[in-house]
């Protein structure tokens, strides 16, 4: 009798996992054309970006990175970034880097297209916030590998499910920081906007978004970082790039290959982080 308080009764069961599985399968069966359309769209966008990235001659990429670093920070940063990226090249991982970069870029663009407007809507609507916030918490705390499963079910193997998983994983900071930024705009400034007869749209575009821009950029910076992490993980479902090299290194227990791919990911992440952060800082207006 007393035993039942020590072992949780096996007969009490709620097969939540099964229901989620059934739901996803139901989605796949009934909405296949819809997901195919999304897949086609993402794939087209991805292929265009990838082809462009692989086509650009490497010296132009390096020069571009130098100029970017120089313009937004100083010439020293330009040199540092260029040398770092050059290092990836001489480790023989140039094409892998460009593949990773193309998936990251596509994911971040999609994440921003979804995240920024959603963030604005949440900022404008309290009820929306009470709905979106717990979802965002869930999205961020859920182990990132879990997203790979529905991604495969919906889109099969390859780069498209990688983009899908990456977008889901990396959108929350874009939403959160946009909301934070819009809510943080000075009340008096917005009131002044109203007092001069602005429409809601004018207040949003002429006052709130310019004011919020630096913070939104910080959100995009975080989105990019998270996308970078997720793209590496999603090599497990067939995304090509630096992550795939890590995966191969694990399978072959090849420390050398693993180190090279790993350090390349770190270099790429740091460079992207510094560049996007500098952009955010550069557009901070004097307070």
């Amino acid at each position: 009798m007393i035993k039942m308080f020590f072992d949780f009764p096996e007969t009490w069961q709620l097969n939540l996992g099964q229901h989620v599985g059934n739901f996803v399968r139901w989605l796949v069966q009934n909405y296949a054309p819809f997901f195919d359309a999304i897949k086609g769209g993402i794939l087209w966008f991805l292929l265009q970006t990838r082809d462009l990235f692989l086509w650009i001659p490497w010296p132009i990429v390096l020069i571009f990175i130098f100029i970017l670093g120089w313009k937004i920070k100083n010439w020293k940063s330009g040199v540092t970034f260029t040398v770092l990226i050059f290092t990836i090249g001489i480790m023989g991982l140039w094409d892998e880097m460009m593949l990773t970069l193309s998936i990251v870029l596509v994911s971040v663009i999609i994440a921003c297209i979804i995240g920024v407007p959603l963030g604005i809507m949440v900022a404008y609507n309290e009820r929306m916030e009470s709905i979106v916030r717990p979802i965002l918490d869930g999205m961020q705390t859920m182990p990132s590998f879990v997203y790979l499963i529905p991604a495969i079910m919906l889109f099969g193997l390859g780069s498209v499910p990688a983009v899908f998983a990456t977008v889901i994983y990396s959108t929350p900071p874009a939403i959160r920081l946009t909301t934070l930024a819009i809510n943080g705009v000075s009340k008096e400034m917005v009131e002044a906007g109203h007092a001069f007869g602005s429409t809601t749209w004018q207040i949003l575009t002429k006052i709130e978004l310019p004011q919020a821009f630096p913070t939104i950029m910080m959100g995009i910076n975080q989105t990019t970082m998270m996308a970078m992490a997720m793209v590496v993980i999603s090599s497990m479902i067939g995304a090509r790039g630096l992550g795939l090299n890590v995966l191969q290194a694990i399978n072959r227990i090849d420390i050398g290959l693993g180190f090279e791919a790993g350090i390349s990911i770190v270099i790429l992440a740091i460079t992207i982080d510094r560049i996007t952060q500098s952009i955010a800082n550069k557009y901070k207006f004097p307070k």
Partner: protein
């Protein structure tokens, strides 16, 4: 003068609740309602009208509802009942479209903490009102530049707001409000955030601009001195109600209740009282053709040691002293020869504050004259000083 703004018994409840309405109709106080219901009453009783071209000041301590009231005049706060007529239109009934048009064309606002956009330059801020109206770039830039010049900020057009001092920032706020050429300016404690010296400059600047542009201005302040200095008429608010409306001197001299009396006690009277309030008609006057004998007799009979000499239409010619007059009789000089000019004159609008140094320096009374040098009255030194010490004002 036509009535520009007319507000009719306009309660504004921050929370809409029929319970509160009932309580208000039973004339319960704001405090009591707050205790019983936890709701705040913004403004419960305010009926007033503002004439065209008038600078109307609403004065009250913080929490008296004055900011709520001014925000109702452009519906930033939506009144729950009552009516606000501007040029005969009840703006409370406006829909979104009419309201936007009203804010774009008729009434603009200057804010306490400026409410300027720090992502825009001075020019970008000033042109904002014109921009939302949809005016073409060239045209609005031109108007914005002219307005910036009008508030004395030429050369700062391309600076960002953060590069400007507080006083300059509020000039930008003022220019932004003036740029759309509105009939009505709503100023919500515009100078409260500025330091005293800058505040004084800005007050003078405002009076200057007002004398040129003749806008209808509603001005909020908690500073009695500012209210009486600027206001053509002043309304005093207490506990969400207007307790007295009148010209500054009336409120100063006939406070309608103990609260206002208390309020105006601290006021620096020298900044409110003007020459016209403390001058009196001279008991003795001589004209040039009266001659010396009359002058001496006038002074003797009035027991004074000097007398002003006037010509045609009471035009002030100078002053003679009893000593000079007696001397002149002996040496057979004429009155015109001994007139002195070393007295001070003042405009009848001059503040007593500014007369104090003259009163201390001068041996003679101060002559109050109009622009044609017509003698309107004289101010003896003792009345300059007594004018400062309450009550004895006639």
């Amino acid at each position: 003068m036509s009535v520009k703004i007319k507000v009719e018994n306009r309660p504004k409840y921050l929370e809409r609740d029929p319970e509160i309405l009932k309580k208000l109709q039973k004339k319960q106080s704001k405090d009591k309602i707050f205790k019983e219901t936890g709701h705040t009453v913004g403004v419960k009783n305010a009926s007033f009208s503002v004439n065209e071209g008038e600078l109307f000041v609403i004065m009250g301590l913080s929490g008296s509802g004055k900011s709520t009231l001014i925000r109702c005049l452009n519906i930033l706060n939506e009144p729950t009942s009552g009516a606000i007529y501007i040029d005969g239109d009840d703006i409370v009934k406006y829909d979104h479209h009419q309201l936007r048009e009203f804010r774009q064309k008729k009434a603009t606002m200057v804010f306490q903490n400026f409410g300027l956009m720090n992502h825009r330059t001075v020019l970008g801020n000033v042109e904002y009102g014109l921009e939302v109206k949809g005016m073409a770039l060239e045209e609005r830039r031109k108007i914005a530049r002219e307005t910036i010049e009008g508030v004395g900020l030429s050369g700062w057009e391309d600076k960002y707001i953060a590069e400007l001092s507080g006083g300059m920032q509020q000039r930008v706020g003022l220019a932004r409000a003036l740029a759309t050429n509105p009939d009505i300016l709503l100023m919500d404690e515009p100078f409260s955030a500025l330091d005293p010296l800058i505040r004084r400059d800005m007050q003078l600047e405002l009076l200057d601009i007002q004398s040129k542009l003749k806008k209808t201005i509603v001005f909020i302040t908690h500073d009695v001195n500012e209210a009486f200095k600027l206001g053509d008429r002043v309304a005093v608010m207490k506990d969400a109600e207007i307790v007295q409306i009148g010209v500054p001197e009336d409120i100063l001299n006939n406070p309608s209740n103990a609260y206002i009396e208390d309020f105006v006690r601290d006021i620096d009277r020298s900044r409110v009282l003007q020459a016209k309030h403390i001058m009196f008609k001279p008991g003795a006057l001589v004209t040039l053709n009266h001659g010396l004998k009359v002058a001496i007799k006038e002074m003797e009979s009035n027991g004074i040691s000097s007398v002003f000499v006037v010509g045609d239409k009471r035009k002030l010619e100078g002053i003679v002293t009893i000593d000079d007059a007696v001397e002149a009789v002996k040496t057979k000089k004429k009155l015109a020869d001994i007139i002195k000019q070393d007295y001070f004159t003042a405009d009848e609008e001059a503040y007593v504050q500014d007369l104090i140094p003259k009163a201390i320096e001068s041996k003679y009374p101060i002559a109050v004259v109009d622009e044609n040098k017509k003698l309107l009255g004289i101010i003896v030194r003792v009345s300059v000083l007594s004018g400062l010490t309450n009550t004895a004002v006639e």
